[in-house]
């Protein structure tokens, strides 16, 4: 597996986590959410790629959406996290922290390595 592929896979896995965490903090419409995610350079998110993620999360019952008319421009689709989504993101955050701690500890003390 190439380094680029590894980064892509890691990034894809983390996108769900980031999207759900943003939605846990409040309601967003797609465009707004993209702008927030773009502030995390490591995710290197492209403008459109958030929509298939949101569609999948909505199909899984973690997110709900509603299209509302807008005074400025075309109608906007607002996304909210569901209670199931909140439970999922909490579990995901805990899992992420466990992994992060384990990797940090592993890297600091590699098995069989010189200390």
């Amino acid at each position: 597996m190439g380094l680029s592929n590894w980064k892509t896979q890691l990034r894809k896995g983390l996108l769900d986590l980031c999207v759900l965490n943003f939605l846990a903090s409040g309601e967003y419409y797609g465009y707004d959410l993209v702008q927030e995610l773009k502030k995390i350079p490591a995710l290197s998110i492209r403008e459109g790629t958030v929509y298939p993620i949101l569609a999948r999360l909505e199909e899984d019952g973690l997110v709900i959406s509603e299209v509302r008319p807008s005074d400025a421009g075309p109608p906007r689709k607002y996304f909210n996290i569901t209670s199931e989504g909140r439970r999922a993101v909490q579990e995901m955050n805990e899992h992420w922290e466990r992994i992060e701690r384990a990797v940090k500890s592993f890297r600091a003390n590699p098995p069989g390595g010189k200390r």
Partner: protein, 244 residues
């Protein structure tokens, strides 16, 4: 409609078509929703541009910023939930009753095997049904993906068999003429009429020739198929990661 708006509409439609093609092999109930969301997002991006910023180059850039269409398939339906082939996910069967046609065909085959008297007319009807099914499936997939490989497959599986049917009718009358000892001008039946080769050999040669054309069309079709999921993976491996 001014020039910029026309250019924009073309760019937007082109991008959405590319995304639709990239998602052609994905079964997801919210596929159309993704396309609608993208369309809405693009409209929003266009609206927020000042009229003087709406140059062709900037509009192209705007579309590029949306990301590679190939990436959508993986994000919408990661490993397991995609592809049109087997195994068909139960959810898909439930939501698309047309998949029930397959067990129905298998059941019919079992019934006709148990009652040999029914076999001939039922198989004739099944052949027509399956032929129409193949033609319809190819048409639907082509409309979704605009994949030229499907046109070649349609040549092999739909157009060529229809031509063969017409050729078959003509051949039957030629065989009757040869058998009756009458003159035939059309090659290779004229060889049999002159007694240079047997009628059986002519029929075998014609059958091989017909099969040869079918295989050529199939091979070209398969080679030309875009196999979008594979190209998507290649894209993800090669491109991306501006920060890398």
């Amino acid at each position: 409609m001014n020039d910029e708006t026309t250019i924009w509409q073309k760019l937007k439609a082109g991008y959405l078509r590319r995304v639709e093609a990239a998602l052609a092999t994905v079964y997801h109930p919210r596929k159309q929703e993704v396309l609608d969301d993208l369309s809405r997002h693009l409209e929003l991006r266009f609206d927020e541009l000042d009229p003087q910023q709406r140059t062709a180059a900037r509009l192209e850039e705007l579309v590029e910023e949306m990301g590679a269409p190939e990436e959508y398939a993986d994000l919408l339906a990661p490993e397991g939930a995609r592809r049109t082939g087997w195994p068909i996910p139960w959810r898909t069967v439930y939501r698309n009753p047309r998949w029930l046609a397959l067990p129905a065909v298998i059941a019919l085959l079992v019934v006709t095997a148990a009652q040999p008297g029914l076999t001939l007319p039922v198989f004739r009807a099944l052949n027509v049904l399956l032929f129409m099914g193949v033609a319809l499936a190819l048409f639907i997939q082509y409309r979704r993906s605009r994949d030229n490989g499907l046109l070649w497959l349609a040549g092999a599986l739909v157009v060529w068999p229809l031509l063969l049917m017409a050729i078959g009718w003509q051949s039957r009358s030629l065989i009757d003429r040869v058998a009756a000892g009458q003159k035939v001008w059309l090659w290779p039946f004229c060889l049999a009429a002159r007694g240079e080769v047997s009628l059986g050999m002519v029929l075998v040669a014609v059958a091989y020739w017909q099969r040869f054309v079918t295989y050529v069309l199939l091979v070209v079709g398969i080679m030309k198929l875009k196999l979008s999921s594979e190209s998507g993976e290649r894209h993800l491996e090669g491109a991306q990661e501006p920060n890398a």
